[in-house]
C-alpha cells in the first residue's frame, strides 16, 4: 500500500473535505511565513505503538499512536477566519473511527482531540496564532 506519510494523509483528507486547500492555506510539516492565514499539520511525539504477539515469538507493531499538532494562524484583522479554520479542522478530525481517509489509503482506527483549539496570542507580525493536538491511531503502512 503506498504511503504518503501521516501529515500528507491528514492534509489530503482535510483538502477532500473542503476544510482547506492543500498547498494554498493548508500545509504539511510546517507552517510557512506566508500566507498569513493558514494551518499546518505537524507530527509531534505521541504514545508508543501498540504491539501484538504473532504467535511465532515475534512481536508485531500493530498500529502507531503519534500526536499531530495543528498550528493555525490568521492575519491581524482576521481573527474570525483563523478561528473558523481551526474549528473546521477540529470538526473534520475529531472522532474519525475505523476508516480510511482516502481510497486505498491506510486504516485509521481513531483520531481524538487532546483539547479544543487553543488561542496562543499574536506573533511578531501581530498575527493570531492557534494550536491543537490530536492523538492518531493508524495502521502505518511502513511497519
Amino acid at each position: 500500500m503506498p504511503s504518503l506519510g501521516l501529515e500528507w494523509e491528514i492534509c489530503t483528507y482535510l483538502n477532500s473535505q473542503a476544510v482547506a486547500s492543500f498547498g494554498t492555506n493548508l500545509f504539511a510539516t510546517q507552517l510557512p511565513d506566508q500566507p498569513d492565514t493558514g494551518v499546518a499539520v505537524i507530527t509531534r511525539g505521541g504514545l508508543r505503538p501498540v504491539m501484538t504477539m504473532t504467535g511465532g515469538g515475534q512481536p508485531e507493531s500493530k498500529f502507531d499512536r503519534p500526536n499531530i499538532q495543528i498550528r493555525g494562524r490568521a492575519e491581524a484583522s482576521s481573527f474570525a477566519d483563523g478561528n473558523d479554520l481551526m474549528q473546521a479542522v477540529f470538526g473534520a478530525l475529531q472522532g474519525v473511527v475505523e476508516t480510511t481517509l482516502r481510497s486505498g489509503g491506510p486504516l485509521f482506527h481513531l483520531i481524538y482531540a487532546l483539547q479544543s483549539p487553543q488561542y496562543l496570542g499574536r506573533d511578531e507580525k501581530e498575527r493570531h496564532q492557534w494550536s491543537q493536538n490530536l492523538n492518531v491511531w493508524w495502521e502505518n503502512p511502513q511497519r
Binding site: 510546517q30 507552517l31 505537524i42 509531534r44 511525539g45 505521541g46 504514545l47 508508543r48 500526536n67 499538532q69 498550528r71 487532546l114 487553543q118 496562543l120 496570542g121 496564532q129 494550536s131 493536538n133
Partner: protein, 142 residues
C-alpha cells in the same frame, strides 16, 4: 455476608489509597522530567509548576499537574510584565521556537506521553507497598 462485604470494602479502601499514592508518585516523576525540559528565561514559568492534591469523584481519582495552575497562574514575569498564564501555553505549543537543550517546547506533554509505559508498574508498586498489602500479603498484578 455482612462480614464478607465489610472485608471487601476494607480491601477496596486500601487499593484506592494505593492508587492515590501511585498517581501522586507518577505525577511527581513526570513533573521532575518536565522541570528539566521547561525553557528558562527569568524562571517564572519553571517556578509556576505544581502537582495538585488528589481529587476524588464517585468513580475516579485524579491528580492534576501542570504550569500556571491556581494561585501560580498570577505569577508575573519580571521581564515582560505578563502573568505566567498569559504565555505558558504559547511556550509549550510553539515548537519552532529555539530553546537551548535540554529545554524545549512540549515540555509537559512529552514527559507525560513517555511515562505511559511506566504508569502501570508505578500504580502496582504503590498498591502492593501499602501498609495493608504488607500486613495481609495482598498482591496486585500489573
Amino acid at each position: 455476608m455482612r462480614r464478607t462485604g465489610s472485608s471487601f470494602s476494607f480491601v477496596g479502601t486500601h487499593i484506592l489509597i494505593g492508587v492515590e499514592n501511585g498517581l501522586i508518585q507518577a505525577a511527581n516523576q513526570v513533573m521532575e522530567e518536565s522541570q528539566v525540559q521547561v525553557p528558562v528565561d527569568t524562571g517564572t514559568l519553571k517556578s509556576s509548576a505544581s502537582v495538585e492534591e488528589p481529587v476524588h469523584t464517585a468513580d475516579a481519582i485524579s491528580v492534576t499537574l501542570g504550569y500556571a495552575i491556581g494561585d501560580k497562574a498570577s505569577l508575573v514575569n519580571p521581564k515582560s510584565g505578563k502573568t505566567v498564564d498569559q504565555y505558558a501555553t504559547e511556550v509549550h505549543e510553539l515548537t519552532d521556537v529555539f530553546h537551548a537543550e535540554p529545554t524545549k517546547a512540549k515540555f509537559l506533554e512529552d514527559p507525560a506521553n513517555e511515562f505511559e509505559t511506566a504508569l502501570g508498574p508505578v500504580l502496582q508498586e504503590a498498591i502492593n507497598g501499602s501498609q495493608f498489602a504488607k500486613a495481609t500479603g495482598f498482591v496486585a498484578d500489573a
